[in-house]
């Protein structure tokens, strides 16, 4: 037993966050302001996601934390340890076993199910922020459903580059009403946002916003009829597990141009290798 209140935050703070989450669920895609607290980690390390997770956790939960798909990176390890210590919850690296998954910039490859909650860490929640720096103006644009500026931005991409050059944090329209920043997930993950059986919650700590996509909610990536949205990925198979359908990281292996592509989702890759799938540079791990 630790000397912390369950899940670190005090009860008053959790009530405030829980009220914000419920309003976010009731108005999908709308950013609810909340009184974000200082957390014992720096801004940019997922303070928003940590607060949302803390407000949702129960002692029976099994928590998974990923950073760019990986369970074993610094950010994921430190947040997982934080909740092991302050909430005493069980943890896992298996997507299928987790009830709450906090993620930085990826959606797991394994399809989520009812009963799971996916908590995103969000750096800049406002999709219009780099087009219009004033909060008073972007708030008015959401109020009036005035999203022309975003389409102009995507059009200018096409005019300049011949295609929409946005490859992550690709803007989406939620239930035909609010344009939402899906956090900096690769646009490869965008189709998984829509009609997902899990509850998706987004927390931005420094920017003090919480928003949500309830299960089975329509989420459409913005595009044009003649330039439809394409969920792109590196044109390779995973070099370890051979998966052709997962999002890949490019890893430089030497200083002579050597490189390999591996699944960004470490659990997905490890499960496939355990099942005997072998990629170009992999070895059969079933015997091991």
């Amino acid at each position: 037993m630790s000397d912390y209140n369950f899940a670190y935050l005090d009860e008053q703070t959790k009530r405030m966050i829980r009220r914000a989450i419920l309003k976010g669920v009731a108005v999908p895609g709308y950013q609810v302001p909340f009184a974000s607290r200082e957390m014992p980690m720096p801004y940019g390390w997922g303070t928003g996601g940590v607060q949302v997770t803390a407000a949702c956790l129960t002692p029976e939960d099994r928590l998974k934390v990923i950073d760019q798909g990986a369970d074993d990176t610094t950010n994921a390890v430190s947040i997982r340890k934080f909740f092991q210590r302050t909430a005493g919850v069980a943890v896992t690296e298996r997507t299928t076993e987790a009830t709450v998954i906090q993620t930085r910039h990826r959606i797991p490859e394994q399809p989520l199910t009812e009963g799971q909650i996916l908590v995103y860490q969000v750096p800049i929640p406002e999709p219009l922020r780099f087009l219009e720096p004033r909060e008073t103006e972007t708030r008015k644009m959401h109020e009036l459903e005035e999203y022309g500026l975003m389409h102009v931005k995507l059009y200018e991409d096409i005019a300049r580059h011949g295609q929409i050059a946005t490859s992550y944090a690709y803007p989406v329209m939620v239930e035909g009403r609010y344009v939402m920043d899906p956090s900096p997930i690769p646009k490869f993950d965008n189709p998984k946002l829509s009609d997902n059986p899990a509850i998706q919650l987004f927390g931005a700590g420094r920017e003090q916003r919480i928003y949500a996509v309830p299960p089975y909610t329509q989420v459409v990536s913005l595009d044009f009829e003649d330039h439809p949205f394409v969920a792109s990925k590196a044109d390779h198979d995973c070099d370890l597990c051979g998966a052709a359908d997962s999002y890949l990281d490019e890893v430089i292996t030497d200083d002579r141009g050597g490189r390999m592509f591996v699944c960004s989702d470490t659990d997905y890759c490890a499960s496939r290798r355990a099942e005997g799938h072998v990629g170009r540079l992999g070895t059969d791990e079933r015997a091991a």
């Binding site: 829980r18 976010g24 949702c56 309830p214």
Partner: protein, 189 residues
Amino acid sequence: MQAQSLTGGFADAPVESARAFRAILEAMARPGTIRRVEGAAPPAPLSPAAGVALLVLADPTTPLFLAGAVDCPAVRDWVAFHIGAPLAGAEEAAFAVGTWADLQPVTRFRIGQPDYPDRSATLIVEADRLEADGPRLTGPGIREAARLSLPETAAFQANRALFPLGWDCILTCGDRLAALPRSTRLEDA
């Protein structure tokens, strides 16, 4: 204040409120589903589920409107001791609790502002029965369609027409609750 006002709260607030919130979150995210909650024993006529919802969500920063029969000394004292929410009129309330008849007219509750639709009331509606039948529900959180026994359809349809403005609803019956956010579309059965 009677001594019984001092009992009936959570025995282990951090853990019990976490479990109860999870049930309320699942209910709000999946309109039409019914959840069981536990931990509160508020004085009559407040139902245990309504007591749980208040303990989890209301606090000294949220004005509370007690409608009709629940606006009695026993409930007032219980709220004052366990929650500390200031009692307010319907127009200012962040939370309102009562039967559907006592909450009328529901058009007086806060529906938020066009730039801040979250600044709206949450109604905790005490129902005599709560079953998965009645008006057909569609919208966010519902795979195809769901059904829920609602006190009426027209008021909820009018509320949905205000989207993204509108109030949100938690329906309570005994120790069970369901929720109906403003985003849900309704058709008569």
